[in-house]
Amino acid sequence: MRTDFDRQLRLLGGEMREMGVLCQEAIALAAKALSEDSRELAARVPPISAALDQKERDVENICLKLLLRQQPVAGDLRQISAALKMITDMERIGDQAEDIAEIVSSMAPGPRPETELLGHMARAVIQMVTDSVDAYLRQDTELAAQVIARDELVDGYFEKVKKSLVDIIVAGPDLGGYALDMLMTGKYFERIGDHATNIAEWAIYSVTGEHRSEELTSG
């Protein structure tokens, strides 16, 4: 009865999955570039971010076309409108991975005791992004709830990073520039965690019709 519509919804799901994979790659590469102090690895992040920009426009087109032509309601409408909101967060994740890579490319050489802590942060947010997109694709509200809960862990890491950087600044004023770079990097990872949380909240909305931050369906 609605073969074509279902096919386009599957296409939308496939595109969302690909965007999720691109996000993971961008974060993983930026984190690896940081831990290995590699400008070459860092240089591979911007093209992924650009691919995410393109995918955002593609998905937007699919969604707008579906809204116009199918005039979806109920679960269909929630799936499409959630996708429209999620891609903004996914595109921002690409930007933030690119920002981290840019810092790596311009950092002066030297000891980097915080990279281990930042590595933990990176792994945590990659997991969050993967799970939030999976939660949307599998309509799994429990998985989405786990993502939202894990954001506190990431915030905790960021607090630790800040503390250790304060110690560094106190110890030697010449490490101020380095400390700021690390602070920014930590902040970007922390922001990526927030975006994953947003994605998870939209995944829940697409199943239940209820969004944590506001009552979207009231008239």
């Binding site: 609605r2 005039q71 309601v73 679960g75 269909d76 409408l77 929630r78 009552e215 369906t217």
Partner: protein
């Protein structure tokens, strides 16, 4: 979010069952229609929504073999009670049909027909009613210079608004609309939709529609019928964004059958 339970109700069915001979067309339908709101009745063909609409002003009475059990309470009184004056009931609860059906007479006489039936003879009073009704139906400006011409010479959309004006002329409390825009072009449709939204300030509108987008655009409440049962009734935005029942979701998303 509005809740139908906190709204003032104007008409209510209680455990309404209707049989056309052997065919059990309405099954235990209990529905409370909020006053001064637009309620849409949706569902696939043969689900009972039009039958239900017609029970609200006893339009099914004349169908051979029809049997009705349960109650329809209008302002607290059972409209199927023994001493109910059906003509008086239909004055209170008017109906507009799918196909415009103006009488083969002048525009003026179409509108004056109902008030005359109810004993109004004064020309000045009738003039006043005709103008008010045509204005309320948003067609006064289009016909004011041709009131004595036949209503049959008007376009389909205009004829339908004449029929609405005719229904309004007897000052009903409730207006039943049975797919009243399904034969009209988008412009006439949007005129009638806007009209329905204005009318709800003074009347209660109950409409049967096959057009889901129409229900979404203008109704405050939506009732979903299936196989003679009322599956779900609630505020329209909730029904169309997160229906409580799988069967409602399947129908409105076109997954039915």
């Amino acid at each position: 979010m509005c809740d139908s339970h906190t709204e003032k109700s104007v008409i209510r069915s209680e455990k309404l069952n209707l049989y056309y001979g052997e065919n059990h067309a309405l099954k235990d339908v209990s529905l409370d229609i909020p006053a001064h709101r637009i309620s849409a009745l949706i569902g696939p063909s043969g689900c009972g929504k039009s039958t239900f609409l017609k029970t609200l002003n006893r339009m099914n009475d004349l169908v051979p073999g029809v049997r009705i059990e349960g109650q329809v309470l209008y302002k607290g009184q059972d409209i199927y009670g023994k001493d109910v004056d059906v003509t008086g009931l239909r004055k209170e609860i008017g109906m507009v049909f799918q196909k415009a059906n103006p009488f083969p007479m002048s525009i003026y006489d179409n509108i004056a027909y109902g008030p005359r039936t109810h004993g109004i003879r004064s020309r000045a009073r009738l003039d006043e009613i005709v103008e008010r009704s045509l204005r309320d139906a948003a067609i006064w400006d289009e016909v004011k210079d041709r009131l004595n011409k036949s209503a049959l010479g008007l376009s389909g959309g205009q004829q339908q608004r004449i029929c609405i004006a005719r229904a309004l002329a007897v000052e009903p409390q409730v207006l039943l609309m049975d797919e009243s825009t399904s034969a009209l072009d988008p412009i006439s449709t949007s005129k009638i939709e806007e009209l329905a939204m204005e009318l709800k300030n003074r009347y209660t509108v109950i409409m049967v529609t096959h057009n889901m987008q129409q229900a979404l655009r203008i109704s405050d409440y939506t009732a979903f019928f299936l196989l003679g049962e009322l599956v779900e009734f609630g505020d329209t935005q909730t029904i169309f964004s997160r229906p409580a029942h799988k069967r409602t979701e399947a129908y409105i998303t076109g997954r039915f059958g």
